[in-house]
Amino acid sequence: MELNKDNNKSLSNAGSQLSVEREVVIKTDKLTKRFGDFIATNQITFEVYSGEIFGFLGANGAGKTTAMKMLCGLSKPSSGNATIAGFDIYRQTEQIKRHIGYMSQKFSLYEDLTIVENIQFFGGIYGLSDQQLKTKSNELIETLGLQKEANKLVNSLPLGWKQKLAFSVAVLHEPRIVFLDEPTGGVDPITRRQFWDLIYQAADKGITIFVTTHYMDEAEYCNRISMMVDGEIKALDTPADLKQKYAVSSMDEVFYELARGAKRNE
C-alpha cells in the first residue's frame, strides 16, 4: 500500500477532496494491442483509483483510443492483463460492461430519437426500472436545463449540449467508471467548463472518471494524468508534480517536453 499512500499525498496536493480509502478500479499489467506489425499500445501498466479523475493524455496516434477500447471491452488485447472494477478483461467482459459507462469521440446517441427517448433507451438497456427511468430522466433533464427540448430530436441540439447529454446518459446507470474519449472536442471554452462541472458532479458521486483530452487546461483539472507517447506511458503523476519534475510552468510545456520525441504522427 506504499504506492497508494504516495498517491493520496499527491492527490491532496492537487486539491482533491478524495477519501483516504483508496480502491483500485482499473489495473493494467503490460496491456498490449498489436495490429499486424504495428504495436498500437505497448505494454502499458498503470492503476486508477476509485473516485479519481484520471487524465489519459497523448498526441494523436499515441494509442489512447486503442487502450481505452480495450479497457471498455470493445477491443481484445493482444497480450497483458487488466481488471476493470475487479473483473477480468478477457473473461468477464459482460460484467465489466455492466459497471462502466462510455462516451466515444463521435457523438453516439441516436440522432433520430428525442432526448427523453435516448435517456429511456439507454437507461432501459442497463436494466433500470420504469420508476428509476422516470425519476432519472426528469433529474437529468432538469440538471441540463433541457426541459423545453426534452421532446425534440437530438439532431436539433447544438454540439455542446449533445456532449453534455451523452455524458449524462453514460453515467445514468451509475457505473463505477466512466470512459470519456475526447469528450469536449470542437466546443467553446464556456461549454467545456460546463462539461467539466458535470464531470466533477459525477466524481463527487464516487464515479471514477477516465478521460482523454487534447486540451491542457482540462489536464489541469485531473487528479492524475498519464502521458502516452508512441504506444507507451512515458509519465504518470499529478499535474503539479509533473510540472515540477520537468521544471516548467504549464501542462502545455510538459506535453511538448514529452511528446517531442514521438516518432508517430497521425
Binding site: 460492461k97 466515444s104 463521435k106 457523438f107 446517441l109 441516436y110 433507451f121 438497456i125
Partner: protein, 373 residues
Amino acid sequence: MRVLKFLLQKEFKQIFRNKGLLPLIFVVPFVQLLILPLAADYEVKNINISIVDQDHSSYSRHLISKITSSGYFKLAGYAPTFKEGFKQIENGQADLILEIPTGFERNLIRENQQKLFIAVNAINGVKAGLGGNYLSQIISDYNNDIRLQWIQPGRFKDAPTIQVVSSNWFNPFMNYNYFMVPGILVVLVTMVGSYMCALNIVKEKEAGTIEQINVTPIKKYQFVLGKLIPFWVIGMMVFTIGLFIVARLVYGIVPVGSVLLLYGYLAIYLIALLGLGLLISTFAETQQQAMSVAYFFIMIFMLMSGLFTPLDGMPQWAYVIAKINPVTYFIDVVRMIILKGSGFSDLVYHFTIMTGFALLLNGLAIWNYRKTS
C-alpha cells in the same frame, strides 16, 4: 425480455420516423407490383407484319384477313415486292414478312398445294419465335378451313386422325399474371427484408451508435432479435398488402390453398432472408458496401429463381445455383399454394430446406457478429 422491449421500441420509432425510408418500404413495392407483371408478360402481341401479296385473289385476301383479325399481328403495310417488304424490316417497321406468290389460288385449287414464304426478323428471339409460330398456326388453320370446304362430308369419314386436345390445369386461361404476380411479390418481400435489415445495422456502424451499444451489457442475441423482429413484421405487412390488396383487387388472384400455410412459410422465409441481411451487415463497414453486396445477391436471386425462366431449362451449373437460392423455394411454394392449393404434405421438402437456410444464415450472422474487434 425487458431489454428486447427497449430495443424494439427504439427500432420501430426510428423506422416510422424515417420519412425517406417509409415510402421505400410501403409504396415502392406496390408500384413495382403493378408495373413489373406487365413487363414480364411473355405473350407477344402487336407483331408487325408486312405482306407481299402478289396474287391478289379472294383466297389470299381471306388469308390476310384471318391473320390480321387474329389479334396477334398488326399490319405494317403491303409491299409490292419482297425487296420492299425487307426494307420495312430493315427500318424497323415490320417484324415479319409473309410472301404470297402469284398463282397462289390457282395452284392451291389445281395442284392441291402451294408454298408460302415467311421471313422473320430474329433480332428479338422471343418475338421471332412466337411470331413465326403464330403465323404458321394461322396458316395451317386456314389450310384446314379450305380443306373442309372441298371435302364433301362423309367422304373421308374413316380416315384416321389424331386430335390433340390439351386442358390447362390450375391456370385454365393461362393468365400470365397468375403466374408472375405471386413470384414478383416474393422478390419484393425479399428486397425489403434483406436490404433494409442490412442497411439498418450498417447505418449504426457508420453513426458509431453500435459502439455505444457494444459497451452496454446487451447480449448478442438480444441485439440480433431487436433488428430481426421489426423487419420481420414489416416483411409480413408488405406481403399482406401485396397479396390481399394488389394481387386480389388488381389481378383478381385468390389463393386456392391455405393462407395460413402460406404465412407459415413466409415466416420462416423472412427469418432466413433477414439472416442474410444480418450476415451482410456483419461484413460491410459502410452502407455503400452493404448495398452493393445485397444488390449482387438480389440480382442472382431474382434471375435464377425460376421467376422468369423455368429451372428445367437451365444448364446444370445454373440449376445448382438455383437450388441453393432460397428465393427459388419460396416462389415455388407461393405458386403451389396460391395456384394449385398444395397442402403441407406437398411442401414438407420446401419447409425443411427453408428451415435449414434460416438456421444456417442466422447462425453465420450471429457467429460473425462481434461486440469486440
